[in-house]
């Protein structure tokens, strides 16, 4: 997809508001049209009544039309706006009385009243006209009466209704617009909540979303959950595969190494011994890498399903010191542990052990002979395990990337290592909600601090 991302919420809001606007305008137009019709009808009814009362008052006497105009015929046309009134009375085509301009030429008896809007005396008037046959001898007399009225009152009524309709329409629109904003916000809230809950997760959290979701979102969430399951499954598989592979490699390597050592003892030629030593070194490196891959897989697995218990960091560290002291002595290194009494924490002891061992391993590897490695366990302000050495230290420029997988310092070439040691320590720290801090000592040497 290209272009600017579009907003579901904005689209929903605009659609609803647009709909409300269309409805409001429609409402205004319908009310206006109806009002116009009704107002026109009521004016027509009154005009018709006036015309009828005039015709009813007409009689033929001695061949002459007598029309005793009833007072009500015109007084009923009194309006709030004092509309002007015009009328014309004609016999056939002959004008009898009223306003001559209003008379017409073609009288049509029998038809109902005719209504028309036309211009008269420079203004718009509504005319009602009715023609009737009056009985007379020798033949009936055709009498036509037209009554007209200006439309000021009608216009006033229409204006009032239009203003009211406009006010109601605007109020309706504002209300609907407010409801549209609220509706779109509340409709899309679950989407935001799911996004937020997924965003809050740690990098290794691949659990399915189990919170209840709206019907419309369940396909998306189901797909998401299925993806998560497959991803998790795939990750587990690859970790398992790595562990299995490392395990399978390590055992034959041990056999190969023992054979190589036995051969080394039997071989006298200097160049052959050199080759065998290189071989043993390579086997060691592979073996160690396999071991660390196993460690890493284990750490990843245990981190995912972290099971903590009450442990003492000092006890764990002293066990490691005990186990690694022979190795250190072999390398002419001093391994010391310092603490002010037990440091109890809730943690996975296996993981802590693994992390500390890897840190000490690193220290052993990168220390020159006759150096000292110091493990310090402190309880305050937070439980930490600090491992310091007097070796070459971390390369200053790569401090940040060192704890990534298979990343090794520039100055580590020539030393056996896989690049997984610091990664394991870091994963363990993060699994316990802590972090790994790396820095160099002022006096030289590296310092790795495991904050728990």
């Amino acid at each position: 997809m290209t272009g600017r991302p579009w907003s579901l919420r904005r689209r929903l809001t605009l659609t609803l508001i647009g709909g409300a606007a269309v409805l409001a305008i429609l409402f205004y137009l319908v009310v206006r049209t109806y009002a116009q019709q009704i107002a026109q009808q009521s004016q027509d009814r009154i005009l018709e009544a006036s015309v009828t009362s005039l015709l009813d008052a007409a009689v033929v006497r001695d061949g002459q039309i007598e029309l005793d105009v009833p007072y009500a015929a015109f007084s009923m046309l009194d309006t709030a706006a004092d509309d002007r009134v015009f009328y014309a009375i004609q016999q056939g085509n002959e004008f009898l009385s009223g306003y001559d301009g209003l008379a017409l030429d073609d009288a049509d008896p029998g038809a109902g009243p005719i209504f028309a809007t036309r211009a008269f005396q420079g203004t718009q008037v509504r005319v009602a006209r009715l023609t009737r046959n009056l009985p007379a001898s020798p033949r009936p007399v055709l009498l036509t009466v037209s009554v007209a009225q200006t439309r000021d009152s009608l216009a006033g009524t229409l204006w009032t209704i239009s203003v009211n309709a406009a006010v109601f329409g605007a109020a309706f629109f504002l209300l609907a617009a407010g409801m549209a904003l609220w509706t779109s916000a509340s409709t899309l809230r679950p989407l935001g909540q799911i996004a937020a809950s997924v965003a809050r997760r740690g990098p290794g959290d691949l659990r399915p979303v189990i919170r209840p979701v709206p019907l419309e979102l369940s396909p998306l969430v189901a797909s998401f959950n299925s993806l998560m399951t497959r991803l998790s499954h795939s990750l587990t598989q690859s970790e398992t595969f790595i562990a299995e592979a490392a395990h399978r490699v390590r055992t034959p390597l041990a056999t190969v190494r023992s054979h190589a050592e036995a051969t080394l003892m039997r071989v006298d030629k200097d160049e052959n011994r050199q080759a065998l030593r290189s071989m043993i070194r390579a086997i060691d490196e592979s073996s160690r890498a396999a071991g660390q891959l196993l460690d890493h897989a284990m750490v990843t697995f245990r981190s995912d399903q972290l099971e903590t218990q009450d442990v003492d960091l000092v006890t764990i560290c002293s066990e490691i010191v005990d186990r690694l002291t022979p190795v250190a002595e072999m390398m002419d290194l001093e391994l010391g542990l310092q603490s002010d009494g037990p440091v109890p924490v809730r943690a996975d002891p296996i993981l802590i052990q693994n992390a500390v061992r890897n840190l000490v391993d690193n220290a052993l590897k990168y220390s020159a002979a006759e150096g000292a490695i110091q493990i310090t366990v402190t309880a305050r302000p937070s439980p930490t395990i600090t491992v310091t050495d007097q070796g070459i230290g971390f390369p200053q420029t790569e401090m940040a990337s060192l704890s990534q997988r298979f990343q090794r310092g520039d100055n580590a070439k020539g030393t056996v290592g896989s690049g997984l040691g610091l990664t394991i320590a870091k994963d363990v720290a993060e699994a316990h909600g802590g972090r790994l801090e790396l820095r160099n000592m002022e006096a030289g040497g590296a310092c790795a601090i495991l904050h728990l």
Binding site: L67, D68, D82, V85, I89, T123
Partner: protein, 334 residues
């Protein structure tokens, strides 16, 4: 088209007699710049105090005040709509027709008393009931009638005493007389019975209130019907000789109305005059018995006020007028 309606309307008025001005006087403001031409049915002497009051407040205006009968006013306006700016008349129906025919300018800034204006162009500014005016001497020792019925009975009781001594408007000549007569007829059948009695007793017909009141004061008339009583009471020489009765059964009451002609070029001055009239500001305290009571001074609930509405056009219809005048003539003209 508008003129055509006037031609037809003006025909009957023109047939009776040629329309002409009865009086014309120029009222000058202190610093007159604009001359406002007023055509009125009210006598100059009666209207002068109002105009003087107006000119005091508006010294830059001169008023050319012309007087004509209310029916003649229509003819004069239709003959020359540009000759006048303001029309004042007691014939509400004719005034309403002028406004209805689009000859009056709408003055949206003005607000008269409720029910005293039509279309923001025709403004009523007085309330004047039609009264029965009696010669006191002629009724000495008799009960003074207070309703039309009592008047009929008084006349029938002694017909020879009243024969030739009754007067009313000739509705064929007087616009105001026609308005009063038609509204009376609309209100009650008693009017026709009274007119029958008047006809039988050889009633005199008058064009104007003034002549009737003169004859009353002189004793030539004993009863004048549908006269503006205020005219009689305003004259000190007649006041003691006549009794003014506002009939208790109903008192047809007209509003003197004013409109500004749409053709005017002096709208500001004309509007000022209309505003002055409808404000009632001219009803000065120190002029008791002034014949033109302002609309706010009277209590309209006691009176049968003719309302400004299109119904007034009814009796102006040619056919209707024919019928009415026919009935009226057969009752009164022998």
């Amino acid at each position: 088209m508008r003129n055509l309606a006037f031609v037809i309307f003006g025909l009957w008025a023109g047939l009776v007699h040629a329309a002409e001005l009865e009086d014309r006087r120029l009222f000058e403001g202190a610093a007159g710049q604009v001359t406002l031409r007023v055509l009125s049915s009210t006598d100059t002497d009666i209207f002068a105090p109002i105009l003087d009051g107006f000119l005091e407040r508006n010294p830059t205006i001169d008023i050319d005040y012309a007087v004509a009968g209310s029916a003649d006013i229509v003819t004069l306006i239709s003959d020359c709509p540009d000759c006048f700016d303001v029309v004042i008349s007691s014939a509400m129906d004719l005034q309403l027709k002028l406004a209805n025919d689009g000859l009056a300018r709408r003055l949206p800034g003005l607000n008269g008393a409720p029910g005293s204006q039509w279309r923001q162009s025709l403004f009523g500014f007085t309330l004047e009931p039609a009264t029965v005016v009696l010669n006191r001497e002629a009724f000495a020792g008799r009960d003074v009638p207070e309703t039309r019925q009592e008047l009929i009975e008084a006349l029938r009781a002694d017909p020879e005493h009243f024969r030739g001594k009754l007067g009313t408007y000739d509705v064929r000549l007087s616009g105001l007389g026609y308005l009063f007569a038609t509204q009376d007829a609309r209100t009650s059948e008693t009017y026709w019975r009274l007119m029958e009695v008047f006809g039988n007793l050889d009633a005199q017909l008058y064009c104007c209130s003034g002549d009737m009141i003169d004859d009353l004061a002189r004793g030539d008339l004993f009863v004048a019907y549908n006269v503006l009583g205020s005219y009689a009471s305003s004259r000190p020489e007649t006041r003691d000789k006549v009794a003014i009765i506002t009939p208790r059964d109903f008192a047809t009451t007209m509003m003197r109305t004013v409109l500004v002609l749409d053709s005017t070029t002096r709208e500001a001055a004309a509007t000022a005059l209309v505003g002055h009239l409808i404000s009632g500001a001219w009803t000065a305290q120190d002029r008791p018995g002034y014949p033109l009571p302002s609309i706010g001074a009277a209590d309209p609930s006691l009176l049968n006020v003719v309302s400004l509405e299109p119904g007034l056009l009814v009796y102006l219809d040619r056919l209707k007028r024919q019928l009415f005048l026919g009935a009226w003539s057969s009752a009164l003209v022998r």
